[in-house]
Amino acid sequence: MEYPLLDTSVFSTYKKQIDENFDAFYFSIVVFYELMASMIDKSTLQKYEHWLGILDKGGRLLMLAKADWIICAKAVRRLRHQKLIDKNLSSTALQNDALIARSSLTHKCFVVTDNIRDYALLQKVMPKLEVIPAAEFFK
């Protein structure tokens, strides 16, 4: 695993560090979905669209294919089947984390996150997934 892929959970706390290391990261389109869906001002949204375009041009934006969605659905199903998550948990509860995890697996990345608990769960059904807490990565 060679490249850090930032999870959405790191953006609020680690802005300065992301800014300083702007050229080090890969991003999943799912993270941009989560960021852009949270924005209120149109001007902010436009800045994220602009950033997205540059990342895409530089090959730093990771997209997902049909097979990735299917693999993620099967992975979350396995968690449910193995009773590692509640059987009544929403089918979308781990969806985005699973998709971000899948992006990292298919591009030699590791996930940098503040949400280690959910990714640790996903590691049980995605054994090659590598995850590091943001506090450790930016230390």
Binding site: S9, K15, A24, M39, I40, H50, W51, A120, E136
Partner: protein, 62 residues
């Protein structure tokens, strides 16, 4: 040879991340290409905008 479970934890039973690089391991480019300049500017502007929204609206990105 340690098995996978042992390899994932250090001697204190905590998860071991020592095999993964840290932010400081990524060298900053000495001379930026045009695309890197654009990326640097766009990254900063986006992060500043996020900070403003957090202050203005109390939004939380998690």
């Amino acid at each position: 040879m340690p098995n996978k479970k042992e390899k994932a934890q250090d001697s204190n039973g905590l998860r071991d991340y020592s095999h993964l690089p840290r932010a400081k391991d990524f060298k900053k480019p000495e001379k930026l290409t045009e695309l890197q300049k654009e990326l640097k500017k766009a990254t900063r502007e986006a992060l500043e905008a996020l900070e403003e929204e957090e202050k203005k609206y109390g939004i939380s990105i998690t």
